[in-house]
Amino acid sequence: MDNFLFLILSLRWQDIVDIGLVSYILLRFYVLFRGTNAFRVLIGMTILWFLQQVAVSMGLVVTSWVVQGVVALGAFIIIVVFRNEIRNVLLARNLRSILWEFSSKTVITAIETIVLSVHEMAQDKCGALIVLPGKEDLEEVVQGGIPWKGAISKEMILSIFWPDNPVHDGAAIIQGDQINQVAAILPLSRRDDLPSYYGTRHRAALGLAEATDALVIVVSEERGDIVVARDSQLKTVKQKRRLGQILQEHMGVAVKKGRESRKEKLAFIAAALFSVIFTTGVWFSVSRGVDTLVTLQVPLEYTKRDLAMEIVETSVNTVNLELEGSGALIKSIRPDQVQVRLDLSKSKAGPNTFTITRKTISLPPGVVLKGVTPSVVDVELDVLIERELPVQIDWVGRLPDHFILEEATVEPKMVAIIGGKRMLEKMLTLYTEKVPLNNLEVEGVITANVALNPASLKIASGSDEKVTIRYLTRLRNQ
């Protein structure tokens, strides 16, 4: 209980925003994709992922591998198999409705237009066939069709189904507030229990309703009645209000009343709660899990150093940090996320001692510091000075046995360098880099660089890093 309280109290505002955002994204997925096959498969995948976690925690190695493989494959399956369904969901809505809307005024306006148009056509006994797709793709079921891409209006619908219009015999497919296609050919139902007064229009409407989740409105040319085909059923609708309700229900517009509306609200609240609980659970398991302890060797970084001083010596260059956190977080740590910085702004020339505390260490969120080794670092600083020192050649190798190097001079004899005062006061000589004897001729001139050791030394401006060596060899007297 104490641990739980500690976890809750240790939440930062960023963590709450984190959980809130991911929960909302999950909820939006639910709102956009509910009722689709892709959503059902997604739920199945989530259950499989949960099972995999259980299998891992129970040590069922092979099971967890198999489930992991299925989940990985499932992600591809959802994208490839349900690509049209996903596309339809996204294309049918504008950015606002994708991000936060739960109902749309345009849909309501479109529904009203359709209801008025259908009612007028029924009164005039003008035959019509209107398809309102659900969440399933119609591309493979509907044939023919002429692209229309026109904004919906009563006049437009009436003109499409006007008997003299060449496209009046087919179906008009309406998506959102657009008439997408006209003269579309629908699959015919093969049912033999239909009443004899139902013609081809009714059979086509039922055929599509059997094959998909689309809603089809039929206006009978002979009797002027309105029939709605949905979920393999044909239903005669006499009232405008009822037709409007059916259409709203089909398009997911939240104007339902009574038990159905309450049921949907409850489902929505349950989905929202599930999103928050699921995200919180995942968040805690990822960011607050403490199942992994790791030791990282991290280089020390020194900041705010007085430019007139330099670091001469440090007791250590790296420290070992013992970090605890969930396996996923620990594995995803990048080197640049873990830093140990020592502030040198208050340090003096000479030896300084720093204690490494939690404040000097930056860690990614969710990772807990358990220990630092060593926790104390000695840093020796020195004031920078310039000093001129004699240069000596550092010969290596050997001359042929009968030769001796009688004379070797260096130009310039002195080179000015910049370095820590305490260090330079102890230095008496600068040496060149190793100069090989093996390649020398009888006499000659060569150049060599001054070896700067330690590397913190710098050649002062006005001095050259290169020196010229003049040498003379001669035969040895035996």
Partner: protein, 136 residues
Amino acid sequence: MKYPPLWLLILTLGLLLMFPLTAGSQSGNPIALVQAVLCEDILEFVPQNRTTVFSIERRTAFCFTAFDPVPQKAIIYHHWFHRDTPSARIKLTLKPPRWSTYSSIQLRVEDIGPWRVEITDDQGNIFHILRFSVTE
């Protein structure tokens, strides 16, 4: 007879008291180094095979110094440094009127690297610095 002013006498006396000290110190150390060489051997006080690089196979490195004049018995030192680390401090006696003397070190594998020999008087004043290398 007119006597010089008192302040002039005091000044003259002061100068006389000061000058013998500096002159004495100059005349007390008039020894001069006329030759300082590194060599592989010394035969009858003559340096042989003057060089600035010694192979450890040669086993010994010599530092030969000659002073002229040497007005009185004096002490000098040969300070041998491997890099900047003192390795040997050899005390040598000079006798009038002129004197040559030398010191040497034995070369070992761990001596490979740059060396120098500082030739100083007993006060630590440097007459000369010789630089050389010991190689394999």
